[in-house]
Symmetry: C2
Subunit: 163 residues, 2 copies
């Protein structure tokens, strides 16, 4: 059961409580699987994956932060921990001494390669494989709309027109 929501029609409440339930449970499940099988959080996995596929397998803190919807503060703490664990290297950029460039160590790449299949399998088991192609397409469309409304970087477009 989910909690009741006042001032909302039944169909609206159903969509809302369903969404919020997924938002609570899915990240927890992803963290749980990655923590159990690979000793890393989903956020750490996302950081490592982004760096791996970046040009030259190298990315600035700001680029990673934007890609992962996180703050520089959070990312800085996480990269410090990843560095202490020997999974990434931090180095000052040659062209701009302010920017910190992050690269994977060989151990970091190895751990990531080892963690990826289990994560993908989990994503398929929990989401992809339980939905039809139509549902998948609808989910992509709906989450794109919601994401654009939510993303802080898209907030420069002034007040919401209409209501």
């Amino acid at each position: 059961m989910t909690f009741p929501v006042p001032r909302m029609s039944p169909s609206e409440a159903e969509a809302w409580t369903g969404l919020i339930r997924v938002c609570m449970l899915l990240p927890a499940e992803l963290d749980s699987q990655l923590q159990r099988d690979s000793s890393m959080t989903h956020f750490e996995f996302a950081v490592l994956t982004f760096v791996r596929w970046a040009p030259e397998s190298r990315a600035s803190m700001t680029a990673i932060a934007e890609a992962t919807n996180s703050t520089l503060s959070r990312l800085s703490h996480v990269c410090t921990r990843l560095q202490k664990r020997g999974l990434v290297e931090k180095s000052a950029s040659a062209s701009d001494a302010r920017v910190t460039e992050v690269t994977l160590t060989s151990a970091g790449r190895r751990e990531l390669v080892r963690a990826t299949p289990g994560h993908i399998e989990t994503v398929r088991r929990l989401v992809i494989d339980v939905l039809s192609d139509d549902d998948l397409a609808a989910l992509a469309r709906i989450t794109r709309i919601l994401g654009e409304r939510l993303d802080p970087s898209c907030r420069g477009d002034g007040e919401i027109p209409g209501q």
Copy 2:
């Protein structure tokens, strides 16, 4: 931009990254609004709301934990804090001395009533009002499927049949 996902078709990756993005951003936005306007987290709001609409405005820890998809431990910490802030009362049940029954104080009810309109308005602004009726119905259906796969209380049905 979201991070790349290996071993997944473009349409699958779009649905997946879209969903995970919403799962990261939406709870943060809800917490932010409630914290700013009413000095409470979304989870605290959910707890107070569930108690308010429970029979006799009274609920056991276990009932609240199930309704909010949380653990007893987390809930216990939160209710202790809510009690210290004077928003709820805890009392032992008359019929079973193990169960703790939670009720709202008058201050708790007042704060909840004050917080609700802003929260509902936020939910409408971020989700309900940006989707068509068809999208809303699709979202309800999709999240119901995902929620059933995710909910720990539905895990007793053995392994996933087929693949």
